[in-house]
Amino acid sequence: MRAWIERQRCLIDFSVANLGRRKARNLGLLGAYILLVFLLASVVLYGDALRREARLLLADAPDIVVQRLSAGRHDLIAADRLDALRALRGVRRADGRLWGYHYDPTLAANTTLQVPLVNPPGPGETVLGATLARARGLNPGDTLALRGDDGAIRAFRITGLLSSASELVSADLMLVNEADYRAFFGIPAGFYTDLALTVGNPAEAGKIAEKILTRQPGSRVILKDEMRRTYDAVFNWRQGLLLTFLGTVLAAFALLAWDKASGLSAEERREIGILKAIGWETGDVMRMKFWEGALLSTCAFLAGYVLAYLHVFHGGGALFEPILKGWSVLYPKFTLTPQIDLMQLASLFFLSVLPYTAATLAPVWRAATLDPDEVMRE
């Protein structure tokens, strides 16, 4: 055992010496490799973190949302449907929700106006999402004037801001009370944007939804599970897009390594010959080359992953923000909850270390099985 360890250590000694011989090239390679792992790991960590964030924050979303469709489009729903829904077995609670979009020409962005069920603002008052307030440069006490549905300008006094810890869900929110909301949008009493239901047993939500569909045809029913899956799908898709791209880059990288190695230079072949002539087995040569590849790629993995972690969870995923942000004017500030999935860590490790190591090793195999007497020739 001691001898085995000492032997591996000696081989590693020479691998390191070997790597040191082409310092500039190997450092360049390491840098490119670190960058690649960094991007790959960033995408995976960021996508997963966003997905988890969505699940966490929306864990208490309404179990069922019922909308009315009119000619295939979302329409206002009559309040009297609430009673019918409340009467359904298993439905614990049903509320009418009032929310809608207002295009703010100053910002050239949509804001979401919503009426809170509890603690609504007073008449002519509003509570703003932190992102929106920041974008408009507004503070509590200021007044916000908006042109309503009837063309009249209405002024809202800002009585408070939503906590900036909640920006990820509240960036563009503008909370007003019911009367102001109806007046502003011209929505008559007795109608809601949609209805939100809470059920006693979430496992029965599907059954209840089916019942709603048969009793109130023309409704559209959205289950909480669907909401969750929507966000899973959204982030999967985005992640998949980037991963496909990065996977291609990784494959190209391994290919490059293969190409580089399969054109073993005369010098390298000569060196392998020398090693074999002075008593190295084919296996020893392979082990040394293995260590070379493994050291380089493991190093790249460790550095790339740690950097990616810092980037995503301490740097706010700065590189991805422009992608997600797109044209958004009201982009929330948020930090993601750090979490590492060990399975994912392992698969990233293998994905980044194995192909490269294998690609560098395979061509050496051919050279290392050659007769060592080549070195005797001049």
Binding site: R9, F14, I278, V375
Partner: protein
């Protein structure tokens, strides 16, 4: 004792450029003596050394080391044998560029699993004997010819082999350096090692070191004394 019996070596057998570098060689090399293969360039000296040292296998015939047929050994055992029994000094030095003198000398010991400290000590010891102690950290491409040859000798000796094979050890050196190398070989002989060298340098044969001369021509042994 090394015995070669009717050894043939054919390069590129069956191809247009087929070349018979060894033809029916019969040879006995006694331990503890200095044997020299002599012949002009292309006469098959290097080929024969390769066959003796187990670097390559004969196309036909047998090579025996202490009665054991090594021409049929599987690669693994042959490598082990090479490591433990033979030290090689190649005609071209064949040091690895970019590695230091010390690293080059230690190379053959790497697969043995011997404690590192021990190997370093022995290597430094050898370098000291060969007057190279202060060059240990020098990258070997910066060495002069004489130094490189001595490093090659140190490398050949790191595993303390009983047999040293040196292919034209004075070929690239001037007379003074050649004599220096011959003196070193003389010391190794005095340590009781078996030396097998090849050369067409008269200096080697005039030095009175060689006890057994094998004359080669076109892959054949033409005379022995």
């Amino acid at each position: 004792m090394i015995e070669l019996s009717s050894v043939d070596k054919t390069y590129n057998a069956g191809k247009a450029n087929e070349y018979r570098a060894g033809r029916g060689v019969d040879l006995r090399i006694k331990p503890g003596r200095v044997t020299a293969l002599r012949g002009p360039s292309g006469s098959g000296k290097t080929t024969l050394l390769g066959l003796i040292g187990g670097l390559t296998r004969p196309s036909s015939g047998r090579v025996r080391l202490d009665g054991r047929d090594i021409s049929a050994l599987p690669e693994r055992f042959l490598t082990e044998l090479r490591r433990a029994t033979f030290g090689f000094v190649f005609q071209q030095f064949q040091l690895i560029r970019g590695l230091s003198v010390l690293e080059n000398v230690m190379l053959p010991a790497a697969p043995t699993g011997e404690p590192h400290r021990q190997v370093v000590e022995r290597a430094m010891d050898l370098l000291g004997q060969l007057d190279l102690a202060d060059r240990a950290d020098t990258p070997c491409q910066r060495l002069s010819g004489g130094e490189a040859q001595r490093v090659a000798i140190a490398r050949a000796l790191i595993n303390d082999p009983p047999i040293l094979i040196a292919d034209e050890p004075t070929a690239h050196l001037d007379s003074a350096l050649s004599l220096q190398i011959l003196a070193i070989l003389g010391e190794l002989r005095a340590q009781g090692r078996t030396l097998i060298v090849s050369s067409h340098d008269p200096l080697v044969f005039d030095a009175g070191l060689v006890e057994h001369i094998v004359d080669l021509r076109d892959g054949r042994v033409v005379a022995e004394q």
